[in-house]
Amino acid sequence: MPGKLKAKIVAGRHLPVMDRASDLTDAFVEVKFGNTTFKTDVCPKSLNPQWNSEWFKFEVDDEDLQDEPLQITVLDHDTYSANDAIGKVYIDIDPLLYSEAASVISGWFPIYDTIHGIRGEINVIVKVELFNDLNRFRQSSCGVKFFCTTCIPQCYRATLVHGFVEELVVNEDPEYQWIDRIRTPRASNEARQRLISLMSGELQRKIGLKVLEMGGNAVVGYLQCFDLEGESGLVVRAIGTACTLDKLSSGSAPNTNTHMHPNTAPASNACNSPSKDGKESPLAHGCRSTHNSPVHSVCSSQRLSQNFSVSVPTLIFTEEPHSVRCRPGIFLCPSSPILSTDTLSLPGSGSVGCGRGSNPRATTSAPLSSIQSDSALLRKSVSFTEDLLLAASGMGSGGSAGKEAGPLRTLLRQQTQTALEQREFPFFTLTSFPPGFLLHVGGVVSARSVKLLDRIHNPDEPETRDAWWEEIRQEIKSHARALGCHAVVGYSESTSICEEVCILSASGTAAILNPRYMREGCLDIGCTDHRFEEPSPPNCGFCHIPYDELNMPFPAQLTYCYHCRRQKVPDVLFTTIDLPSEAAVAGKGCLIQARLCRLKKKAQGEANATAISNLLPFMEYELHTQLMNKLKLRSMNALFGLHIQISVGENMLLGLASATGVYLTALPAPGGIQIAGKTPGDLSSEHISSIQKRINDTIAVNKELYQINPPELAEEGVGSPIPEPRHRSRLFRSHSESSDELSELDLSHGKKDAFVLEIDDTDAVEDIHSLLIDAPPPTGFYSCNTENMPGISNWTSGVQMFTSVRVLRLSNANLTNQGLNKIFTDLCENLLKSFYFKLRSMIPCCLCHLNFTVAVPEEELIQVTVTAVAMTYDKEQTQEKTAEKPINKGSLEAEEQLQFPLELCADSSSSNIQTASKISGVGESTNMSPRVSSLERCSPLQEGRSRSLRSSRSFGGSSVTVVKMTPLSFLPGTRIIKYLGIINMFFIRETTSLREEGGVSGFLHSFIAEVFAMVRAHVAALGGNAVVSYSMKECVFMENPNKNQAQCLINVSGDAVICISETDQESSASTANTGQTGGSETDGAT
């Protein structure tokens, strides 16, 4: 009997009137856990009952403690008829099961009813006494901590990162059980809520077990999702990164142990920003993606799946100016000889050779998926990327690696590889890392697969879905390998379901990691290891290509790094992770979105799945093209936090790609965009030049807007090892030259900056126009979808998290793709405009972590859901810094380069990372404005900020704790001192009086407000005052206006925390704290 759960019902307030006659309520409470139920006395005739019950005690297994929620039902006593339910409260007691989290849950909870919403509040106290259980075969995993945060949580340090954990559980959806026909909607909703609560509890427990098996004690970047498959079941699945975390007591930390430094110094120093730095590598242009689809097939097998991988040729543009508008093509070389015939038969996959990427050897490897082929299913697998894969893996074992660092690099890679190869999936759900963790970034890897849900053999068993995901992960892994990387970071998975068709997607960023964190006893080994590490400077190292430049996995244009001049970098970098805080950037970042609609014929079953899978590569291709164009238009060269969502509806597919664009100074400056007619005289050259002018103007305006002034002169002063004569001219050329000349120049200078858009039909004109539609945010606003806003980090205290939902009804039945695109684009743009307007009082302000989710809930509906946080910042400071930056840049650069190797030799026992961070510390004061400010953010200062935080707390005599919410992992001006546990809540709301509740908008508005209220109440009851890493994972809305009905499901999650104002504890240390060392000292002192 390893646990005793105790609950006490104290009082209620604001109860609804249940007895019309007396205008009062005779309320009592049922407290249920597992199969045990207790009741309080009836508190007659009161809307504010005081029960003050005894302690109800439940003696239960800890397994149940993890799975089950405590269920509190408030009822109205009725002598003559059945008691009426007022509402329920589900309390997840998981936070009470870790020693470090909350010790008691106590507070006012909204009483929630799925039909009526919140109906009053109830005050409850819950405690748990755990007995130690030494049973080795236990099924529970109490004590494993869960974090939604995708970086190492503040006030912890990671001693070991174990890697990927995943789990999936399936159950029959109560909504589809036969009994649903005879029970009330309320009963059905409650059954669903309870089931999901149970399933997530079970899921978390199982994942916890896996973590314990691996020797870890925590899951970071925990991502849990629901798939409402309908008839075939309800799936709850989760992925995360298993870690061993040590709690940093605020007094002990950093100075003593050098090995702790990599984490503690920067991380404790604020945990805010430095912890998310990690070096990442750019994903060169290569975005690789795969699509799997069942295809109508030759044989009558249950399930057919056909795979084809597409390496989206984002870069083909840069390569070959002529091939510009190769819209219809997916240009890969079909490689597996076995399958080539099938390939050709695939509709739509006309293959176009991509010059460089294709490598004739390497055609033999078996398709990955064949591993799992079982007799029952026939698989045709067409893998376009095998060649790349082989090429890349060949490189690992001794292929010629580039420069001086080559041998070292190879050695390192081998070491790391062995560490990682033991793992089935070297995936990490983290998006930011301790400094030094991430060595290089290869690029975005993604895979999609279309499945038919009605073909699942045993719908109630998880095997089939497990196999699906396994397959996709294998694919991701192989893509990463093709990029010369052994790991995938910033990894996430998602689904989109429409009727019986389900698209499974996974994406991440291929990367090379520092092996030190991977091994047991890592710290000791780390000591020796670091000698082999490449001396790549922290602010550009992650950009250096991980793959072999002779066997590039995709056509890319390499140059020497504009920072260190020693390694090659790609010209464009796409990643799914956050911008490493030590990365050197110029100017500000901005949100870049690509939006796409594709009509599709209505179809059933396999035909439908085939149609979808045929469309997918085109969509992905076009999304990338749009992204690339928009990136160039903003004069930027890298994307972070790339997230591509493809959502399927009955008659259309929606694609939305969001990312944060930034100018990395280590990468070459992007060239402009040139417009060219297909044939001379095709379109009036006037027309073309006017478009060209608009584009050039837009680029110029954007440069100004985002303050992109790369420190060119300074760099040249340093003296690059490889002189690059064309470098300077490149920046300006597209502005200065007329379009006519350009087309010629293009051929001669060619690849350098050529990014040519060819106008050969009206579609192309439309496309270009749509490029220019994106309005820049109004003055005073910036936006991004990542944790850090590149170029801004001097946040002040204003924080406003919001959720917005918009549903558009397409009334026009015969819309074209173009028309749809326009509508969809306008929808997104208008949403952004609305946000800017609503939040105008916060100027200067930045919308961070803008997370768009699209869905096609019904045939003619498009739904967009956005959650983001608006944060105010100090404008003055930013300007000062940018102003001073270019001046010092040059000299510092030199210093930096010198210092690095020196440090390395002199102090070989200290970790390389430490030096790295020191150096960046030096740089900070002057040349790395973004980092300075991020440091400041963490460092104890900024009165303005903290003042307002405190004042908000002390306001008034209200009994309600103010709970801040943010999708980010930090709150500006504060330090998280305790993580109280994960918040993971699922609610259903239904109404049969839609009009009376203010129509669909009124209904959803109050529901979202209620969800926020319940999250805040749970956090406050845990003793917390904020939710970080908050996200709304699911918002499924269904309506039937004719019946005056609507239903909505919402799933939210986040980490409940206690945070304190930085100035509360750390006194006056607010003076300019420029160096990182300074920062960590103050931190340690407290």
């Binding site: 909204p110 919001f802 009334s811 309600v960 805040r1016």
Partner: protein
């Protein structure tokens, strides 16, 4: 193509004071959008009409959801649904309970009944306050009236604590409650020129001097009901006009004091009897202290009036046979200040 659903919900509830006022004033969403456009808000943030419409709808919905809470403002502070910073809560409440002087002037002294509520559309037309706003204001009066009706303790304080209103607003509500309870008529044509604030002042005077609460502060309705004993005693002041000797004596004392101090002395002397009768009759038959109209004369200045009343009051103290000095002071103190207040253009 149409927007089917459009919501925006902030963790901290976003409210624009300007939109709130438009909502309170009873503007429809479309009218509010027009007003906002004219106000130039579009120039901020490059907003379009659609953006404005969407924002206005969001806010209107929020206000509608909040309205239930505003009916019992104490709930606003400990409800969980909306996270509203305390200073905003105060603003919301204060503005919700604010009223138009022109509107309140129309219903002042009327019974807060369904009957009156039915007449609101006339009042709305007359005052050009929207019907919606009239209803809100009327319901506010009624709600406050109902709540404080059954409470013990000082009226103003009760209103302030129950409805979390500012002192000023609480006093105004006290006046409204007082008038409604005593049904003093304020609609007479002769009184048209008086503003609500004039009446509110008088009510304040009456509450603090003539009610039960002025003597005993622990009874129910202490500030709403007039002190019955006092009213009884007031009847005895009649002696000042019924007793001829007293009347003459009083007149000569007043005239002696006034002589040479005012230009309108002759008139004062001539109308002394009428004036005195008027003042004393009010005392004997308190229904409306505002029958004091006879005192009003085109030719008397406010200073004249003040002078006259001061001497009129003081002289009565000198009368040997007049025994009701305490009642006299309690009566005349209020009457004097009320008349001063009303004696304006």
């Amino acid at each position: 193509m149409s927007v089917e659903l459009d919501v925006f919900v902030g963790n901290t509830t976003i409210m624009d004071e300007e939109v709130y006022q438009l909502w309170l004033d009873g503007y429809t969403v479309n009218d509010a959008v027009k007003v906002r456009m004219e106000g130039g808000v579009m120039d901020e943030c490059e907003a379009s009409k659609d953006v404005l419409l969407s924002d206005t709808m969001d806010q209107y919905r929020t206000f509608q959801m909040c309205e239930r809470l505003l009916h019992s403002p104490a709930k606003l502070a400990n409800q969980l649904l909306f996270q509203i910073p305390p200073h905003r809560q105060i603003m919301l409440i204060e503005r919700y309970y604010a009223f138009d002087d022109t509107f309140v002037r129309e219903v002042l002294g009327k019974k807060l009944s369904k009957g009156t509520k039915k007449d609101l559309d006339d009042i709305s037309a007359k005052t050009s306050v929207t019907l919606k706003s009239c209803r809100r204001q009327f319901d506010n009066f009624k709600r406050v009236f109902k709540v404080v009706e059954e409470l013990k303790g000082p009226l103003v304080e009760n209103i302030r604590q129950h409805f979390l209103l500012s002192d000023k607003l609480a006093r105004d509500y006290a006046a409204i409650v007082f008038f409604a309870n005593n049904r003093f008529e304020t609609g007479k044509r002769k009184l048209q020129y008086l503003s609500f604030q004039d009446f509110a002042f008088c009510a304040g005077q009456l509450i603090s001097n003539w009610t039960v609460g002025a003597v005993d502060n622990m009874v129910e309705d202490m500030d709403v009901d007039l002190d019955k004993e006092f009213l009884q005693e007031l009847k005895e002041l009649k002696i000042l006009i019924t007793d001829k000797d007293l009347l003459d004596q009083h007149k000569s004392l007043v005239c002696t004091a006034l002589r040479g101090k005012t230009k309108v002395f002759i008139e004062m002397e001539g109308s002394f009897k009428n004036l005195s009768r008027g003042l004393i009759n009010i005392a004997a038959n308190i229904s409306l202290p505002l029958r004091l109209y006879p005192c009003r004369s085109d030719r008397w200045s406010a200073a004249d009036m003040k002078l006259y009343l001061t001497h009129y009051t003081n002289s009565a103290h000198i009368l040997d046979t007049f025994k009701h000095q305490v009642v006299w002071d309690r009566y005349m103190g209020v009457v004097k200040s009320c008349i001063f207040k009303m004696y304006h253009d």
